[in-house]
Amino acid sequence: MTYLADVAVLARKDLRLELRARDTLPAMLLFVLSTLVVFHFALPTGADEIAAHGLLWVALVFTALLGLARAWAPERETGALDGLVLAPSDRSAIWLGKSAALFVFLAAIELVALPAFSLFFSRLGATAWAGVLLANVGICAVGTMLAAMAAASRTRELILPLLFLPLAIPLVVGGVGSSVSSEPGRYLTFLGLYDGVFAILCWATFEYVVSE
């Protein structure tokens, strides 16, 4: 299927760009680790284990925001987005390719951040990892979309967090729930629901975001 091939090409391009430039990924990594250390000082002694899990998700969401702010930067700097839009492939492939690349970046970050969290605060079970993975899908899908919208606006970096945070709230609930609740299955299902609903919405509407 040429659609998936297009998506793969676009994703690979982003991955290769990052591998060569190596600016966003190390920054996100350092950011998440610093945030976790700050949280240690922010939590009073005797604070809930649940509170620490909550803060993990705050860290993840804001780290994702950091990466999202730069998500469309290569296209913006080179004006490549117009070329991509004019290409004969389905425009939603652009969104899917970018989201897939972002997913890989975030997953790479989390491979370091989650063990660090386990080290600094408390152990993370399998359900927590599953929650992170599912929430990642939602973050990347919705975030890429909103970053494209923000890129069109005058107040670019300023507006992306405002657009993203309300939509991130359900993801945080799902994520924290899957780590701390006694019924993580419910939260994981919910995350799956979120991913499904919003991924379809993004996929269907992306072409209106990039076309004139």
């Binding site: 405002l162 309300p166 979120y194 919003f198």
Partner: protein
């Protein structure tokens, strides 16, 4: 830029008629709420806030839904006027949303002594929606007028209606680890008169929102027409 009067059936009803109906209904609702409906045994007089608070909330949802419908029409069929209608609908929804938060806060203070409680799922949902739709306006004002702004606003409006049920679910789920539900707030057990009052109030708020929606649309179309006139005369 075609912002001339649309030709769907509802919008041919003149605005004054709608406003008059709204005024009558609101008057009726107030009479019912204060003089006809019986006083609630548990909550006393402060229960009467419920007759406006919940209809205002429902109307806000309806406005957001209406705005999303217009947004969908815009993306699907195109047509300048849908952008304006979507924007005005969402504007109304936000106003009614803020009113929901205000009346809800007063009710919380009257019932539980605190100006804000995280226990009320509806209040928390409206807080999230308030944040979301505030960002809608920030997005809109940071974009140049044109098809780009219309498209982006429309897509965001669609995200909004998807967010409403998803957020509500999330807030319900969050109860497990955020707060034990100590207060049930699913609306009082309503007698027949109470239910009638509630329905009248709901109709009244909906009509009020529609009247304001039409008035605002009128104003915006007037603005646009004047601008065209000015361009034509100074060309």
């Amino acid at each position: 830029m075609s912002t001339s009067s649309p030709n769907s059936s509802a919008s041919r009803i003149p605005v004054p008629a709608i406003a008059a109906t709204a005024a009558a209904l609101v008057g009726l609702a107030i009479v019912l709420a204060f003089f006809v409906a019986p006083e609630d045994a548990d909550q006393g007089i402060s229960q009467r806030i419920f007759y406006f608070h919940v209809p205002i909330a429902l109307t806000a949802y309806a406005c957001f839904g209406w705005g999303a419908w217009k947004a969908l029409r815009l993306l699907w069929k195109g047509g300048e006027r849908y952008d304006l209608e979507s924007y005005v609908a969402i504007h109304q929804g936000t106003i009614f949303g803020v009113l929901t938060l205000a009346t809800g806060s007063i009710w919380a203070r009257a019932s539980w002594g605190k100006w804000w409680v995280w226990d009320s799922n509806q209040l928390v949902l409206f807080l999230v929606l308030f944040l979301f739709y505030s960002a809608y306006f920030m997005l809109r004002f940071s974009l140049e007028d044109g098809p780009r702004r219309a498209n982006l606003s429309a897509v965001y409006a669609l995200f909004g209606v998807a967010l409403i049920p998803v957020s509500f679910l999330a807030i319900r789920l969050a109860e497990d680890f955020i707060h034990p539900t100590t207060f049930t707030r699913d609306g009082p057990q309503m007698t027949g008169t109470m239910f009638l009052t509630f329905c009248v109030a709901w109709l009244a708020m909906t009509m009020l929102a529609y009247a304001l929606y039409r008035v605002e649309l009128l104003g915006k179309r007037l603005d646009a027409n004047l601008r065209e006139l000015r361009e034509a005369l100074t060309a």
